[in-house]
Symmetry: C2
Subunit: 187 residues, 2 copies
Amino acid sequence: MTRDEILEAAAQIFSQKGFHATSMQDIAQAVRLQKASLYHHVSSKQEILLAVLDQAMAMLIARMQQVMAQPTPPDVKLRQAMEAYLTTMLEHRDLAAVLLLEHRSLQPEFQARHFPRRDRFERLWRDLIQDGVDQGVFDCRDPSMSGRALLGVLNWTITWYRPEGALAAETISHLFADLFLQGLLKR
Amino acid sequence: MTRDEILEAAAQIFSQKGFHATSMQDIAQAVRLQKASLYHHVSSKQEILLAVLDQAMAMLIARMQQVMAQPTPPDVKLRQAMEAYLTTMLEHRDLAAVLLLEHRSLQPEFQARHFPRRDRFERLWRDLIQDGVDQGVFDCRDPSMSGRALLGVLNWTITWYRPEGALAAETISHLFADLFLQGLLKR
DNA sequence: GATACCCTACCGAACGGTCGGTCGGCAATA
DNA sequence: TATTGCCGACCGACCGTTCGGTAGGGTATC
């Protein structure tokens, strides 16, 4: 039994029942250990949550920076970023769900460590949109608010997406990208 | 002390700390009662949650049906619906936050009662978009997915909006409506 | 080859504390 | 006298965490 296996199991149960509704007993049972044995690998339940959050952020940041670093036109880059973000999230739904919905269960000292990382990540999106505006490709009154809208569309997906559903992550990301770039109105 | 005051206080604390992190003690303290006294007004903690969810749904449905019932062009109606939804949500942030984020803390029997109502509500949005497509005002490949995107933008607002921020609910709703209808691309 | 030692992984039992919820009774009102 | 609203005391269950101990494999010493 490794620490990573424990984190993975914990993420799965956290994403299903929520952090506070999950007991150390639940996690121990999932990895077929006694709950006392968990403390050989982790120091507290809060530490598990923080580690899961860190893992999720690291994965998303790595995947996004690949896209962001390319010298691509803003509209194409936005499409790529959306696809990268959505596919990564939906491939690791447990991690993503915990990241997006359970961060408020962190104790304050850990939140202080986590929030700056998250803010830096969200700024990537805002900057991407701002670039598009500066280069005359995008037209929008409030780039910061457009960024929030975009993250809303993408993040909310975690609340309704089911892998057995008909649509693949790529398909969804294309539909969302078309909608977000072209708008709903007929032209 | 009335039942409604208890529900209101509970909603506020639920929205702040989450359902499972909130104790009956917390709620009692907020309304300056002893914990035992709460049970004179409500039958269980779960019942409080269900009541709060019901209240939130009822409020949103009432407000939305006013807009939906009008014989207005789909694009205008969509703008109005977005504004109605967002202003109602942000005026009653506690209720809305519990509705959107805590429904999974409901015990299964109560979820079975709640989810159909929520699904019916979400179908209102999808139908509105479908109407727009049928009337040739909207252009979209997958109305159901556009509805999900729209609800994502709107619902996610509850996670970042702070009333002391610069933007009023109406302003935000107008920005989102422009973005959603026209798209981000310059034309 | 036998002995002593240590380390990793694990477990059973128990800790203090908090949880949601119950119960009998008190005081005010009608 | 009956009812309503409230409270103090209490319950069993479960919580996260700690502790002492153990099984087993490696490893250095004799």
